[in-house]
């Protein structure tokens, strides 16, 4: 469980987070959204103790981040950064992914097994002996992802995981994230990608100018046009469509393509049967 209690944070006297209160239960799926500079990255850096609150506290499974080292917290909370180029340094993708496992002192046999498994899952198996610097942007991003997921942390925090991924990889990423979540991991993603959020169906926390603007299920939040615009986002396309058809009795909180399709289908069929 991740508990954030009355968290304030300042960089050199410049306050960027104001009174944040969040409780994230084990196995929850959360999306943190908000405009550029809202403080999302700053907030998630508190989850593994990289940043310590200026005021208030953050508890990971009941332990305050002030009382634990980043190394010990990072075994529980896997944090993947926005830009993969900030962490790639090894000669091969295999070594890169094995790095955290080596830091945690796992036996070599376990490391090999886990690394191969995660490379397989993220479609990187064929690059195991390639230099990470030779890969494309999207592939580097997946290597960074693999290098955290390899140690199987209980809570997974991803900063902008979909940036630079083509549609197919995004789909795979979604499936993988959802799968980890159904296996009981807590998943927290930071993203601007509303369509991705609609497909993942998480609980959404809207952050704006360092404060929490709203918190709730994805369809509830993302169909609220006013709220969404205040966080510099645009409602998903289907949401815009359904809300423009509001007068015809469609539900603007329908964000999912298939739900929208069946609603429209039902209406069309009933119109057809009326005219017959």
């Amino acid at each position: 469980m991740i508990e954030v209690k009355g968290l304030y944070f300042s960089y050199d006297g410049n306050e960027v987070l104001h009174n944040i209160n969040i409780t994230i239960h084990d196995g929850e799926f959360i999306a943190i959204m908000g405009e550029n500079g809202a403080g999302k990255t700053t907030l998630i850096k508190h989850f593994n103790g990289l940043l310590k609150p200026s005021k208030g506290e953050v508890l990971i499974d009941g332990v305050s981040t002030r009382e634990a080292t980043v190394a010990s917290l990072s075994r529980k909370v896997g944090l993947v950064f926005q830009n993969p180029d900030h962490q790639l340094f090894s000669e091969t993708v295999f070594q890169e992914v094995a790095f955290s496992m080596r830091n945690y002192g796992y036996p070599e046999e376990t490391i090999r097994r886990r690394v191969n498994f995660i490379l397989e899952t993220l479609d990187l198996r064929s690059y195991a002996e390639t230099s990470p610097f030779m890969l494309s942007g999207g592939e580097r991003k997946r290597v960074a992802l693999a290098s955290i997921l390899v140690s199987d942390p209980k809570h997974i925090v991803l900063d902008e995981p979909t940036i630079g991924q083509d549609h197919q990889q995004k789909e795979k990423l979604k499936n993988f994230i959802v799968q980890m979540n159904t296996q009981g991991r807590t998943v927290i993603i930071v993203t601007h990608d509303v369509e991705f959020v609609v497909e993942c169906r998480p609980k959404v926390i809207l952050l704006s100018k360092g404060s929490i603007l709203a918190e709730g299920s994805y369809d509830e939040i993302l169909s609220d046009e006013d709220l969404v615009r205040r966080a510099s986002l645009v409602p998903p396309q289907i949401g815009l469509l359904m809300s423009s058809l509001r007068d015809l009795g469609f539900n603007p909180a329908t964000l999912d393509v298939y739900q929208a399709k069946s609603a429209i289908e039902k209406r069309l069929l009933s119109n057809v049967s009326k005219t017959l």
């Binding site: 850096k45 593994n48 990289l50 080292t69 980043v70 190394a71 990072s74 075994r75 896997g78 944090l79 993947v80 950064f81 830009n83 180029d85 900030h86 962490q87 790639l88 340094f89 790095f99 955290s100 830091n103 945690y104 610097f133 290098s147 955290i148 140690s151």
Partner: protein, 259 residues
Amino acid sequence: MSLKLFEGFRFTGKRTPIHRMDPRPKLLIASSIFLLSILFTNIIVLLILLIAQLPLIYLAKSLRRWSNSLRGGAVLATLIFIMNFLTGSTLVFSLSMTLRFLVLISAFSLFFLTTSPDDLGLVLERLHLPYTLSFTFTTAVRLVPTVALEAQTIVDAQRSRGLELDRGNIIERLRRHIPILIPLIVSAIRRSTELAEALESRAFGSCENRESLITLSMKWTDYFVAIATIIILLVGIFVRLWIPLPSLDESIRLPSIWV
């Protein structure tokens, strides 16, 4: 954290007499302090050189940033002290060398804290440095904060992968910095290539004689400061050459088994 060192050299625009000063006398002050600290090994002189900067730094409202640069240099300063003392220098001499290093850091911290990269570029141009050289230098200065921020992010990313920088002996600790240094160097190279491409696509260097929109002009206060600095420098050189100073060197050193 050694990143504090960068903070202590990063220009921040403020409205103070020191910030408003023409960059040339400021460069003169920093260079004179540099020269004097090289000329003297006497600990009292070095102490005076350090303390004499305090009023200027106070005037520039930069005490906190300046102390950051000293704190950032503390590790290296300690190393300098230990190296000197261990290799058989006297206690006072080791302290002097450490102090000399701090004086240097402090002098250039004061200069860079209060001089914008633009001003710096103008000075270098006035010194008739080729434009490509002065541009390279000012760009490097301008990039310091960006690189510092990037270094912090890299440290954060690697710590999130279980890297513990401050564990083990000195060799082990240095080895643990490899995962920080490689991404930092790689991204610096990548950035410079991108910058070069961007510059070339904007016709950098296509014209021989550049003209500057802003020209530097010295006020009478600037002349006054410059002349005062030169006099102090000359007095310093005079004292160094012809006036013997009392030495505090008590010959306290480690027993020679260390040497």
